[in-house]
Symmetry: C2
Subunit: 219 residues, 2 copies
């Protein structure tokens, strides 16, 4: 038999990757402490000791999952920001264009065939909203790029106080985080009118909403 397996676990990729995939999905859904290494191993169709062999401690596996897609995500966003800056005049891109460059790469990733990116971004939402994990894991992975976006927003809103820009970004980050978490809350609240999984609709509403907020607060 080659490198396939299809009895109780997932089907494709190396066992190492399958561990990462299953861990990603379970951590995103139930949190770090809500998942056991045995659940992950079982989901990947693999012995429990294999996770330790590849990744060390449980915490190291969690970090490996978190870091696996952080680089690619940052690169996609950086390219989106540079692209919209390149096509703008010398006064720089509009607020809407900058917000769009911040959000659309996520939508693209979420629309991928496999659900890996969806799960990863739900995991980021979990980490970002957690008083315990947030401070440890978010800044190192994303702050540098976020500050580039805020610099661009500063250029689009020259009268803005830096402090106000950060508070507005905080609002954006919160709206985004709740979207990534896919809790299904808006589905029930709206009686099925809105669907948590409809990322396109979420971003289509979020971009003008957030842009208007920035303009109002940072005018």
């Amino acid at each position: 038999m080659g490198s396939r397996k299809n009895s109780s676990g997932k089907s494709n990729g190396s066992k190492r990757d399958r561990i990462l995939d299953v861990a990603e999905e379970l951590f995103a859904h139930k949190g770090y402490d809500g998942v056991t290494l045995r659940q992950i191993a079982s989901g990947a169709g693999v012995d429990v000791a294999l996770a330790s062999y590849h990744f060390g401690k449980k915490l190291d596996l969690f970090k490996a999952v978190f870091e696996r897609r952080a680089g690619p995500l940052n690169q996609a966003r950086r390219e989106a920001l540079e692209a919209c800056q390149a096509t703008a005049g010398r006064r720089g891109p509009s607020v809407e264009k900058i917000i769009e460059a911040f959000l659309r790469p996520l939508e693209l990733a979420q629309e991928t065939a496999d659900s890996g990116w969806e799960n990863y971004l739900a995991l980021v939402a979990y980490v970002n909203n957690s008083p315990y994990w947030g401070p440890i894991m978010m800044s190192g992975a994303f702050d540098e790029l976020v500050n580039h976006y805020i610099d661009a927003l500063q250029q689009a809103l020259p009268n803005a106080r830096r402090e106000d820009l950060y508070w507005c970004y905080h609002n954006l980050s919160g709206a985004l985080t709740l979207t990534l978490a896919r809790t299904g809350r808006i589905d029930k609240l709206s009686g099925g009118l809105c669907r948590s999984e409809d990322f396109r609709a979420a971003y289509d509403h979020m971009i003008p909403f957030v842009a208007a907020g920035f303009r109002k607060v940072c005018k």
Copy 2:
């Protein structure tokens, strides 16, 4: 000795209440699975079996913590909404006034001397952002009142499609949730310019931000 205790646990209130207080704080910070009954008992200066005696299973304790302040919170908000509707003309209150009536009761609760409300609202943030707990616990506690707010917003924005109102509320809910979680992320990101614990500043920025978003999307 009366009903006091002050060796390793908290100092005031009945042991039952101290269990609720400590559970509230720990659940909010580390999540349901990140906290053990022994940690809670230890923090309350109490034997571990006492939690089971008063509340049953661990899950029941979690629900008891969640529900303890849900009623009072809903009542404070309902009064705030009715108050702002009472002072408005027959076209109803403005978007800003409605958002304010949604948020300020939280600020008031958070400014209380003891940290109970702060911890509770962080717990609500944890639950609301969790794909696992959100669907189970949020709707039953808060949806009815939220729909009253959305009705009021519908009146303030007569041309709004119901669907758009829900998406805008989703953005508001996200920004609020991240604020309640107090992750300290904005502190580091802004280099100390903004502070997660400065709820006043958070709401002062959130209200015009969100109101402008509603007006833009639901015009």
